[in-house]
Symmetry: C2
Subunit: 340 residues, 2 copies
């Protein structure tokens, strides 16, 4: 039930995903059963008639409550225990599902994922990782909005998490990690960034130093291609929204200047289309939780489901947990069975 | 002598500016006399022969030292008292020039401007104001890199300074001020931004609330067009460099996709050309100091000189000083003649 175009977009996206992903993969649609059933029936009878054969790989999971965009994120689990958000994430927490995808209230998904799936040992907050298309290759940017005020240690955690994601989902070996700043030199940046720079030098990661705003557009810097850019969630979120609005704005200006068809041009430049990337994983929790844009189209939902599937199949969550455990001094981890 | 293409670009830019701006306006070129004279002679004998008539409105001011991009900003005034930076700004401070323009070391220009021109009463730091072209009208963004860690009070000072600049140089009446954040609601943002939001509500400015990254691309939000965006210099600088690199990147991608000539397209979309805006004023000091990009072309220098001329003619500096003074409780301003 999440997102501006629910239930149509999530249901249609599920049908599209099943058409691309082979059995035995199944999709559980979580929400008010009657609403989902009638939406499914309408799509299969109409626009998606050719996908009728995948209908039997859809399971409906009843969840009568609906989280709205104005619900207070931290209160959703308690106030709406039977929302599609709460029920869906509980399926993952209890092992009845392998991954969760939503285009609903981002704050609520973050809060509920943190409570139900739990953070990895050594982490204080999860991070949202988004993909920025560049002139070179796509770059993973984190955090893109989960944490507005970050400590230097948290930025280092984002780097570890991001390195694993880039390896498992983007296929980058020894991912090159850049720290977003306002100059290449270690002494450039705000207080937190300068401290994080020193910590990253000792992190054992493939840290290539500070990168600047321009390097995020080109995807490369004078030390080579960039795989991961680490920043706090305030800067990351501002940049993400700026990019999302600027790309179509610029394409529109070019189209009208050159007398080209705007839509045709956008289709041609599909690598700039946010729908191609579908969803941003909430990284740092014990389970796959993919955050999709509120404005997600069926295609975006389909691609978010593909991200979820790759995250599960690559065992990303376990890899992140292991990488974080290796980096934490043993004395900081409670032995199994003891209280945290 | 400042910038990657000095002395050619500044000298050529001065000739171009004089051709557009009527007498009695004169330009003082500050640097090693012999170098400037030979550059002037070469340009007037060759490419700029048609501008030979403006040569007598150029005065050369001897300054033998040259500030490099690696010089420590804070030390330049002491270590190189006879650099073009130090000598040029001293001309303004002592009333022998009305404005200063440089494409040299930004940090050095900031530090030297602060020491020689002095900050307005009530200010703790100057700010750099840059123009972002948008789908709507150009928007002034400040701070774009002078201050990496800002307090809420400093963000409010930037808003006051920016409002005056938008009025005097962009011709906006009652400029609409937005505070950059990650959501429209007052409770969205990092700690400093949330505090600044409350202070701005009581500032007497035309504060339209938080704006987001996407609003900086469109130049408007659901509360109307935006004239000024306030942010700290870390975020502002990252965004500025991202934009500067992304616009040509996207135009290049469109050009190669649509089989268009890249240069032709960039010329056509001149509103996206940073050279059109020329220079960013260092705001908050008692005098006009315009910071140009290190990569400034002659055209960019010419436009920076035009920004300087408009700043001087509109009496922007006095207006900013007055607006700041009105906003500071009287007890905070020392009476004339007493020590600060």
């Amino acid at each position: 039930m999440g997102g501006d175009f629910a239930p149509q977009a999530p249901v249609a996206g599920a049908l599209l995903a099943l058409a691309e992903l082979p059995a035995p993969l199944e999709i559980q649609l979580v929400g008010p059963t009657a609403v989902i059933e009638s939406q499914l029936a309408a799509l299969v009878a109409g626009e998606f008639a050719l996908l009728a054969h995948v209908r039997d790989r859809i399971i409906i999971v009843e969840a009568p409550d609906v989280v709205s965009m104005t619900d207070k994120p931290a209160a959703v689990l308690r106030s709406k225990p039977n929302s599609s958000m709460s029920v869906g994430l509980r399926r993952v927490a209890e092992g009845h599902a392998d991954a969760f995808v939503s285009a609903g209230n981002t704050g609520a998904q973050m809060a509920a994922s943190t409570v139900l799936l739990k953070l990895h040992a050594g982490l204080t907050r999860p991070a949202i990782g988004t993909i920025f298309p560049t002139a070179h290759q796509p770059v993973l940017v984190l955090d893109s909005g989960a944490n507005v005020d970050c400590s230097a240690l948290e930025l280092v955690q984002f780097a570890r998490i991001g390195a694993t994601y880039a390896q498992d989902l983007l296929g980058r070996s020894a991912p090159a990690i850049g720290l977003l700043s306002i100059g290449e030199e270690p002494e450039k940046g705000n207080a937190v960034v300068k401290e994080a720079h020193q910590l990253l030098l000792q992190s054992g990661l493939n840290f290539i130093g500070n990168v600047e705003g321009r390097d995020m557009a080109t995807g490369t810097c004078d030390r080579g291609p960039i795989d991961v850019v680490v920043c706090d969630g305030f800067v990351g979120n501002v940049l993400l929204k700026f990019y999302e609005a600027l790309a179509p704005t610029l394409i529109g200006m070019v189209a009208s200047h050159a007398g080209l068809d705007r839509r045709e041009l956008r289709r041609g430049l599909h690598q700039l289309d946010a729908d191609e990337y579908g969803g941003a994983p909430l990284l740092g929790v014990n389970g796959v939780s993919i955050i999709s844009h509120g404005k997600s189209s069926p295609k975006a939902i389909k691609n978010a489901i593909r991200v979820a599937q790759r995250a599960h199949d690559s065992d990303m969550t376990a890899h992140i947990r292991r990488r974080l455990a290796e980096s934490v001094p043993e004395s900081n981890i409670a032995p199994p069975g003891t209280a945290a």
